[in-house]
Structures are given as structure tokens and as C-alpha cells.
């Protein structure tokens, strides 16, 4: 391939190379997304169809009133995320976000442990007073109020 290729062929070759790379990227993306995208669960969904243990998922709902407990190490908390239909116990080690509190929406990123406790690597709470995680929006109006009512 050390001779310059004929002009017509060269353009064709370049187009084919570009196409091959793009299709390759698309296929790779599709394949990787199947295994790596992390699904969002509401507690009821997690109770009905629990994700396999160890798979990275997100769990969103209301932090149940009176459920936050601190462990002796001072940096681990346990709480319950609920949507009014089901309750999922969660354990989180780390510094909680400022707006994380009971009776307020939160999204936990992590994995379901073998004992059924959801081990969160990261907690997302409301970012500011105006902002609600989009996944929480659907519930804040109806479900959330209901959830709060039921936990009172």
C-alpha cells in the first residue's frame, strides 16, 4: 500500500473506513449499553422484580420518616426508601448531600446486596430548593404526598 491509491478508489476507501468505524462504534455502544446501563427502580419495582445481586442500578423514592440510623463508625447510615407501596432498606457509607433528609426525595446509586439491603455508593438528593431530580418529578406530586401520608 505504499503507492498512492487511484483517486476514485481512495475516496471510496476513505468512505468505507469511516463507515466501518462508525458502525463499529454503534455496535460497540449497543453491546456495552446492554450490560452497563444502570436501570432506575422505584421501591415497588425493586420488590416485584429485584435486579440481580451486584448489578449497578439506581433506586429512587422518599426517605421514610424516622428511618435514618447511624452506625457506630460515624460515617455509615441506614435508612429506608419508600414509594408508599414497598420499602427498601439502604446502607450508605460517606458524606450525605446537604439536602438529603427524611420525608424528602433521594436517588441512591449502588447495588443490591445478597441480604436484600441496597448498598449505595452515591446519594443524589435535591440539588437546590428549585431543582428536583427528574426521576423524582413524576412522584413528587401524587405518590410523594401519598407516601408521606402513609408513613405518618
Amino acid at each position: 500500500m505504499n503507492q498512492p491509491i487511484k483517486a476514485k478508489h481512495q475516496r471510496l476507501v476513505l468512505v468505507l473506513v469511516a463507515l466501518a468505524a462508525l458502525i463499529g462504534a454503534g455496535l460497540l455502544a449497543a453491546w456495552a449499553l446492554r450490560s452497563q446501563a444502570s436501570f432506575f427502580y422505584l421501591p415497588a419495582e425493586m420488590a416485584a422484580q429485584p435486579p440481580e445481586v451486584g448489578r449497578a442500578v439506581r433506586l429512587g423514592g422518599m426517605v421514610e420518616l424516622g428511618s435514618i440510623q447511624r452506625e457506630a463508625d460515624g460515617v455509615t447510615i441506614r435508612f429506608v426508601i419508600t414509594d408508599g407501596k414497598a420499602r427498601v432498606p439502604v446502607r450508605f457509607t460517606g458524606i450525605v448531600p446537604d439536602l438529603f433528609k427524611e420525608n424528602s426525595g433521594a436517588v441512591a446509586e449502588g447495588k443490591r446486596g445478597p441480604d436484600g439491603v441496597f448498598v449505595a455508593d452515591n446519594l443524589l438528593a435535591k440539588h437546590d430548593e428549585k431543582y428536583v431530580p427528574r426521576e423524582m418529578k413524576d412522584m413528587t406530586a401524587g405518590q410523594a404526598r401519598q407516601a408521606v401520608e402513609e408513613t405518618k
Binding site: 500500500m1 505504499n2 503507492q3 498512492p4 491509491i5 487511484k6 483517486a7 476514485k8 481512495q10 475516496r11 476513505l14 473506513v17 469511516a18 468505524a21 462508525l22 463499529g24 462504534a25 454503534g26 460497540l28 455502544a29 449497543a30 456495552a32 449499553l33 452497563q36 446501563a37 444502570s38 436501570f39 432506575f40 449497578a56 439506581r58 447511624r70 463508625d73 460515624g74 460515617v75 457509607t93 460517606g94 458524606i95 450525605v96 446537604d98 439536602l99 446509586e109 452515591n122 443524589l124 440539588h127 437546590d128 430548593e129 428549585k130 431543582y131 431530580p133 427528574r134 426521576e135
Partner: protein, 647 residues
């Protein structure tokens, strides 16, 4: 008064943009139309008027004029002046006005200085620029007017999100926007050249400074943004593959590809249709980015000033602009003649590889970012994070970096690997040393490959200077070497951060000592302090590196009172070989304080390398613009002499 002036300037600018579009279209048909002759001044005045509107908004924010709705909802009279000033673009309307102002000003500069290309091409370019601007003017004037008045005026403003009250806000959004919008000029040049069938090396040379400029600003914007998120969010990470981050990365990837292909077109008159296509893609990515950020359609940790209802408007603009550009491309691509040929092993060949790999990486990021939207249409709610993005982009980026090591050593047109292989001996040896070191330390696959590549690239990137007299080396070559060296350093920083970071999360009482990596921290005390619009709890940590003289770190947990919200202010200690990062959490019932500490060896290389990349761009830009200017002056002189000699 000022609000009225701003609104009037905005309307006038929009009207002029309309005129500019009509004039640009006429220029394609016939010459000698008076409107066509007036096109350049129209574009310049439009630029000035749009900048005036932005200036008016800034003045309104600095004065905290509460009769303006936007100021009342986003500012507060007790806020420090810097944040009043920067707050003018820390919201939806203001940021869109900034977008339009930068775009119009850029169009004005093109009209003012660009004289190399055939006049018709320039006029068509200005017309295309006006076409894109008009959509945004309509958006501003009809759907998000920044100058809407409140009657009666609000008694006090609602304040700005405390996370945004940081010097980062003054730099990050404007730099990123200038980058986004600079690509609109490249887009307009591409469309103008297609419409007038003038895809040539001259076109590439005219477009190159804009691509370079936009790319420098994008690089800086991403750097600021990443460092800002790193110390402000208090999570110890510098890149989260968040949709908003990807929104800035995608135009950067496209612009990087464009930057390299435009060089091939300018120097060798090859890759003609491809370069034009990339010009369209790069700006499309800017618009996709703006859409993702502004619409709040995706869940983001950096989601501020979002308004979903307005997303549809940007989506419509996006569809119209990209659709129109692709239609023009489809109609005219066949008329773009074949460029010069080259062999596979040549500078062009290496640059084609770079382009293809960058485009592949762009595809990976784009698909991953949009996947949650696609999944939502079938009712699944998913998020895509590092487990997808890291390996999938690495598959494209790592081979590209391997080629980056030797590509610049190849000659144009045709070369052989045999000729350059002796030069690669040292880089290859270093890469193997890095590999061996990584395996010995037992680090993960991606950091390992990154580390090995970074070791090799540090030397390989400066090899193009080998055997040259340094005094005679031209600025653009210095620029390339600097930028590639920056990539090597940044890659090393990333690999080191993910492989060697030490983390500690503890609950401690004042008086205790905490050890993390080579650091020993004495937890001295916790005390309350107050700032202009916040109060805070501040911890004092005396951090000693390897038993050396202690440095004082003061992480804070701040509480703002307007709007009421808390932030964790991290504290950083920077040494030549890394950073210590401390965050103060809350107090447990038994009186202990939560502290999270990271020792991140060589993480600063990420931003240092990034700055070198931007500096490299700047050197290249200076070199190009200086030689353009010299030529322009020489041409002017000849014309002047001819005029003096008379006919």
C-alpha cells in the same frame, strides 16, 4: 431605561440579521444589488447591537434592577459584585443572550477582516450565519426575553444558587459559549463554501483560525468546568460522564477532528468533503449540547437554570439548522471534487486515522448520552455512567494516541515506517517501563494502558523537534508539540488518579490524627465562621506530608441564607506530586465529625496538561494569524504602490 435600550438593541439586531439573510441569499443569485454591497456593514452593526444588549443585561445585574424579572428571580442585592456580574449569564435567558451576542459579534468580525475568499463565498457565509442567528433571536424575543419587566418591582431578589457562587461562574460559561459559538462560524464557512462550490485550501485557511479559536475556548471551558466540579461538588472526582459534561465534550471531539482535517485541506488539498462535513457536525454538536443543558431533559448533577418547555424550541432550531445544512451538503457534496491522493503510511493517513477514531469516540459518547432518552420511549428509565463510557471510549482513544506518537513524524503524501522507527526507540522503551511499573503495582487495565502510553507519549510528542534548529521552528509546530505533550501529561494524570488515589472516610474528634497515604493530618478544631451571605462550620486540619512542615487545611460546611441551602467547601493542598483533598461532613450524635480525605498523586497533571493543550492551540493560532497578517499587509502595500503610480 437600560432594559428598554437592551430590548430595542436586540430587536434591531434581529431585524438586521433578517436583512443579512436576505442579502446573503441575493448574493448567490446576482451581483450589484445594493443590499449585497451593504452586507458587511450590516453584519458588523448587528454584532455591535447584540453585544450592546448583553452589556445592558450585565449593567442591570450589577445595579440589581429589581424591576427586571430576570434580575429579581436570579440575583440579590447582598450578593458580592462578582456574582452579580457573572449571575447575568448564570440563568437561562442570560445565557441564551450571551450565546446570541457572541455569535453576532463573531459574524461581525468575519465581515470585518476576512478578505481572502471570493466575495460571494463570504457573503454566503454571512447569510448562513444570519440564518442560524435568526432562530436564536426568535427564541430570545418570543420565548425567553431576558428584559421582561416586573410591575411593581420586586422588593428583593431571590438570589443565586450557592453552588454557582464561585469565581468559576465568571469564567466557565462564557469560555464554553465562545467555543460553542465559534464553531458556528466554522459551520457558516462550510455552508458558504458548499453553496458557492469553493471548497479549497484557501477556504481551509480562512476557516482554520476560527476552528482553532473555538477549540481553544472549548478546551479552556471544559478545563475550568472540570476543576470547578472537582472542588465544588466535594466528591473528589473530576469527570462524571454526566450529560452536561458530555454536552461540552462532544463539540470538543468534533472540533478536534475538524482542526486536524482542516490542516490536511489547507496543506495538501485533501479530505475536502470530509472537512466540510465535520464543520457541520461540530456545530451540530454544539447545538445538541445546548439543547441537553438548557432543556434539562436528562438527569444531571450540574442541572441549573433548566426549563423543559423551552427544550422543544431548541430542538426545533436544532432540527432546522442541521436539516438545512445536511440538505445543502447532500445536494452539493457530489460537486466537491476529489482531493489530492496519498498513501496509507503518510501524514494524511495518520490524520485520517485520528479523524476516524475521534468520530468513533464521538459516536460512543453521543449514543451513551442519548440512550436514556431512547430507553424512556420504551418505558425504561436508565442512566449510563463510567462503566460504559470509560472502556467504550478507550477502545477508540487509546489506538488514536498510539498513532499520535508517530503520526507527526511521518511525511506528507508518502512515507515508510522504516524511516521513522529509529526515532521511536526511546518512546517505546519508556512505554514498556511504564507498563512494567504498572503491572508491578497491580493496577487496573485502563489505568495501566493509560500510564504506559503517557510515558511513551511524553517523549514521542516532542520528537518532531528532533534534528531541527529550534530557532527556525515555526510557531504552529511548537503549538502542535505543546498540545500533544499536554495530552500525554493529562493522560498520565488521569491514569495516576484512577490507579494510585488513597481515600479515607472517618468520624473523628478534634485532637485526633488521621493518616491517608503519605499524609498525617492533625484534626485541630472546629469553629463557626461567617461570610457575606453565608455562615459556616470550619474545620482546621494540620496536614504534614511524610513528616514535613504541616500545611493548614480548612474545609467548610456552608449554609447560605438566600436561597437557604448548604454546600460543602472542600479544602485542597497542592504539592508538586499531587493534591490532598479534604471535605467536612456533618456531626454525628456522639460529637464526632465526618471527614473525607483523598490523596491524589499527580492529579494536577490533568489540568496542567489541559492548559498545555490550550496553550499549544494558542501558539498555533498566533503563528497562523501572524503569517496571514503579514501576507495581508504585503498585498495592501502592493495595491497601494500601484495606486500611487497611477494608471
Amino acid at each position: 431605561m437600560i432594559a428598554t435600550l437592551g430590548l430595542a438593541a436586540l430587536w434591531l439586531a434581529a431585524a438586521l440579521a433578517m436583512l443579512q439573510l436576505v442579502g446573503g441569499a441575493l448574493a448567490l443569485r446576482a451581483n450589484g444589488n445594493p443590499l449585497v454591497a451593504a452586507l458587511r456593514p450590516v453584519a458588523m452593526i448587528q454584532g455591535m447591537l447584540a453585544s450592546l444588549a448583553m452589556l445592558c443585561l450585565i449593567v442591570l445585574f450589577c445595579q440589581t434592577d429589581l424591576s427586571v424579572a430576570l434580575v429579581a428571580t436570579n440575583s440579590h442585592s447582598a450578593k458580592p459584585l462578582l456574582y452579580k456580574f457573572a449571575g447575568s449569564w448564570g440563568n437561562h435567558e442570560g445565557s441564551m443572550l450571551l450565546w446570541v451576542a457572541v455569535m453576532a459579534a463573531a459574524g461581525g468580525v468575519v465581515a470585518w477582516v476576512e478578505r481572502r475568499l471570493p466575495e460571494r463565498t463570504i457573503l454566503a457565509t454571512l447569510g448562513a450565519q444570519a440564518f442560524v442567528s435568526l432562530g436564536f433571536y426568535a427564541f430570545l424575543l418570543f420565548a425567553s426575553n431576558p428584559f421582561t419587566r416586573l410591575d411593581p418591582a420586586a422588593p428583593e431578589g431571590q438570589g443565586l444558587n450557592p453552588l454557582l457562587q464561585d469565581p468559576g461562574l465568571a469564567f466557565h460559561p462564557p469560555t464554553l459559549y465562545i467555543g460553542y459559538v465559534g464553531l458556528s462560524v466554522a459551520f457558516s464557512f462550510a455552508v458558504g463554501a458548499l453553496l458557492t462550490r469553493e471548497v479549497s485550501p484557501t477556504f481551509a485557511r480562512a476557516m482554520r483560525p476560527w476552528v482553532l479559536g473555538a477549540w481553544i475556548f472549548l478546551t479552556l471551558g471544559i478545563l475550568f468546568g472540570s476543576y470547578w466540579a472537582y472542588y465544588e461538588l466535594g466528591w473528589g472526582g473530576w469527570w462524571f460522564w454526566d450529560p452536561v459534561e458530555n454536552a461540552s465534550l462532544m463539540p470538543w471531539l468534533a472540533a478536534t477532528a475538524l482542526l486536524h482535517s482542516v490542516s490536511v485541506l489547507a496543506a495538501r488539498n485533501a479530505l475536502r468533503a470530509w472537512t466540510v462535513m465535520l464543520g457541520v457536525v461540530a456545530f451540530s454538536m454544539s447545538m445538541v449540547g445546548t439543547f441537553l443543558v438548557r432543556s434539562g431533559i436528562l438527569v444531571s448533577v450540574h442541572a441549573f437554570a433548566v426549563d423543559p418547555t423551552r427544550g422543544q424550541f431548541i430542538l426545533a432550531l436544532l432540527a432546522i439548522n442541521i436539516g438545512a445544512a445536511l440538505a445543502v451538503f447532500g445536494l452539493r457534496a457530489a460537486s466537491v471534487t476529489e482531493g489530492e491522493r496519498f498513501a496509507l503510511t503518510s501524514r494524511e493517513g495518520a490524520l485520517v486515522f485520528n479523524n476516524v477514531m475521534l468520530t468513533g469516540a464521538l459516536g460512543i459518547v453521543l449514543i451513551g448520552t442519548l440512550y436514556p432518552l431512547i430507553a424512556e420511549t420504551v418505558g425504561a428509565r436508565v442512566s449510563v455512567g463510567p462503566p460504559y463510557f470509560n472502556p467504550a471510549t478507550a477502545i477508540f482513544v487509546l489506538p488514536m494516541l498510539v498513532v499520535m506518537a508517530f503520526g507527526p513524524l511521518l511525511r506528507w503524501r508518502r512515507d515508510s515506517m522504516k524511516r521513522i522507527s529509529p526515532l521511536l526507540l526511546v518512546p517505546a522503551t519508556l512505554a514498556l517501563c511504564g507498563l512494567a511499573f504498572g503491572i508491578w503495582r497491580g493496577i487496573g487495565v485502563l489505568p495501566l494502558l493509560g500510564l504506559a502510553l503517557a510515558c511513551g507519549l511524553v517523549v514521542a510528542s516532542v520528537m518532531p523537534l528532533w534534528g531541527r534548529k529550534l530557532r527556525t521552528v515555526k510557531l504552529p509546530l511548537w503549538g502542535m508539540v505543546t498540545a500533544h505533550l499536554g495530552v500525554a501529561l493529562a493522560l498520565g494524570g488521569m491514569a495516576s488518579d484512577s490507579a494510585f488515589t488513597k481515600e479515607k472516610l472517618v468520624a473523628a474528634r478534634p485532637g485526633e490524627t488521621i493518616v491517608v497515604g503519605p499524609w498525617s493530618l492533625q484534626f485541630a478544631k472546629v469553629q463557626p465562621i461567617a461570610g457575606p451571605n453565608w455562615t459556616a462550620i470550619e474545620a482546621t486540619l494540620e496536614a504534614g506530608y511524610d513528616g514535613g512542615k504541616p500545611i493548614t487545611l480548612k474545609p467548610q460546611a456552608r449554609a447560605f441564607w438566600s436561597p437557604p441551602q448548604g454546600t460543602n467547601e472542600s479544602a485542597l493542598a497542592t504539592r508538586w506530586n499531587g493534591q490532598l483533598y479534604a471535605v467536612l461532613g456533618e456531626q454525628a450524635e456522639d460529637g464526632r465529625w465526618q471527614l473525607r480525605l483523598w490523596w491524589k498523586p499527580f492529579i494536577t497533571l490533568i489540568w496542567l496538561g489541559g492548559m498545555l493543550v490550550a496553550l499549544g492551540g494558542l501558539l498555533a493560532l498566533f503563528g497562523r494569524v501572524a503569517s496571514d497578517l503579514r501576507r495581508l499587509i504585503a498585498v495592501d502595500k502592493i495595491a497601494y504602490r500601484r495606486r500611487r503610480q497611477g494608471p
